[in-house]
Symmetry: C2
Subunit: 182 residues, 2 copies
């Protein structure tokens, strides 16, 4: 494993309510010096949950996404609150977004969105053995819940409104996990 | 399909060399008004490429990622240049990052990284029938090329330095594509 580059300088160059951009000076092991921009996480990461209503039915959500200015289909997700662990956050999010809690939660793995720029980590969680339980969320309109068969994943992957790499990765990982340990 | 919320106001609230954060006012169909932050793409999107050296060997790269301040294992990727189409960008990127060009390029699908916040699109591309061709890139140090067997994807998914959701999604999609149309 290579030695990590040394951070020679660090400065905040832009700040908004949600984002902080940092400029870092880096000296690589070969002596090369560069300046890169990065976005520190600033929070506790997020969770993205695959709630299985039965062995083949995943509960997706269709929700307005301000980044792409489209309604996007994907897995329920949300920011982890201070002091909350990823599994607790996953259970809270599905109660808020799909109206179910889970008796069984399996931690799948941490993922990053674009590690060259963003520190942010998203923890992928499989939620099973669901029970009805709706908690109020903070969304501007009711989230539409869209049941989808995991056995019809190929069809989902042809849809123009199912684009999020984290949701694609999560559904494949869940399909593998359920095959290995149902 | 629901009617998109109306954008009632839009203002740049933070700018750096690479990023611009916009605050938008939104009025949803139900009358609810909110303010969200979003990061417009500002560029032409990026490509993430799965270069197959043979039917089972994918060429991954291990590269320093400033966002996570770690060396990350993943698929070669890069920003699309003005006027370039995604397949041409994919071929250029693998010449720069892994030292191969491809005689066959298959467009897999567009993906987003976190559509609630980022407009950015990453196009996933499968590159096959490779030939040796190295072009200079703009990296501060030589990129390490790591051949990996697609049939050993499960082992790759246990590694702590393979985290990027786009790379995870791309390798699963390629495995499906090669099964359906080798």
């Amino acid at each position: 494993m290579r030695k990590l580059p040394e951070i020679t300088a660090s400065e905040t160059v832009a700040t908004s309510r949600l984002f902080r951009v940092e400029k870092v000076g880096l000296r690589f092991a070969n002596g090369c010096e560069v300046e890169f921009e990065r976005v520190p996480s600033g929070r506790h990461g997020s969770v993205l949950v695959v709630p299985m209503l039965d062995a083949d039915t995943v509960l997706l959500v269709r929700e307005y996404a301000a980044g792409t200015h489209r309604y996007e289909l994907g897995c329920p997700k949300g920011v982890i609150e201070p002091g909350e662990d990823p599994l607790a956050a996953a259970n809270r999010e599905i109660m808020e977004e799909v109206g179910y809690g889970a008796r069984r939660l399996r931690y799948l793995r941490p993922t990053t969105i674009a590690p060259g720029y963003f520190e942010h980590t998203t923890h992928l969680v499989l939620a099973e053995d669901l029970f009805e339980e709706r908690h109020p969320g903070d969304e501007p309109e009711e989230i539409e819940v869209v049941p989808w068969r995991l056995s019809a994943l190929a069809e989902l992957l042809t849809r123009a409104d199912f684009t999020e790499a984290r949701s694609i990765a999560a559904l494949f990982l869940v399909r593998e996990a359920l095959r290995e340990a149902p």
